[in-house]
Symmetry: C2
Subunit: 129 residues, 2 copies
């Protein structure tokens, strides 16, 4: 497992994501980093691309937003499930072996060669219920 050195921009974006409890859009990250010299969306998107690629952040498709990975060590063998609270917008991350193998079964049954999955749940979290 190699440590990966983040550039200054990547570090700034990562810090911004980590400091937020709820997902942030690229543009809201941009706004928070204007004081640090950020001026264009691309500066954010490029950093996000890298962070997502190395697994330090995740993109939430249903929100067009991003979160810091809260999984201590993201298990590459399992699909990640995101639970997005409709009330507080906070996001919980989970993974489950049975779910992942089930997903693979579903794909296999359709002769579909699975490479990645987007699993985003909506509902209400325990704190808000």
């Amino acid at each position: 497992m190699s440590e990966i050195a983040l550039t200054k921009n990547q570090q700034l974006v990562m810090n911004t994501l980590s400091a937020s409890k709820s997902p942030l859009s690229a543009y809201s990250i941009l706004d928070r980093l204007r004081g640090d010299g950020f001026r264009a969306p691309l500066q954010v998107y490029r950093a996000l691309d890298k962070l997502v690629n190395i697994g330090l952040a995740h993109r939430l498709e249903s929100l067009n937003a991003f979160v810091a990975c809260s999984h201590p060590a993201c298990d590459k063998h399992r699909n990640t499930v995101f639970m997005i609270c409709n009330e507080c917008e906070n996001v919980m991350e989970a993974s489950d072996g049975d779910l992942s193998s089930n997903l693979k079964d579903v794909a296999d049954r359709s002769d579909f060669s699975l490479s990645s999955a987007t699993i985003e749940l909506r509902g209400v979290c325990g704190r808000c219920a």
Copy 2:
């Protein structure tokens, strides 16, 4: 089970979706319907809202696009899984009882009250493999 009457616009959008094998964005639907008097995105989005609500169409979050429902009778008790081929962009739809109960288990374990799920798989379909 009540039959639902579609308006002219809704019918046009539905026909367009049904005629396409792969997902369509709202704007590409708009382009295909300009000859039928469509002029603005909202005309498409309003029809799509309705079609999605009554289950005749689905929104694919990871594509920002829409597909006609290919499920003969969409089972409300099961979550729908979309398999999107990276090669041909075609989409297959499936559902599975085990997967749905697994998903609920994962949510329960996090004290999350599940109301809806987005499950979109990427990979390669049988025809393209």
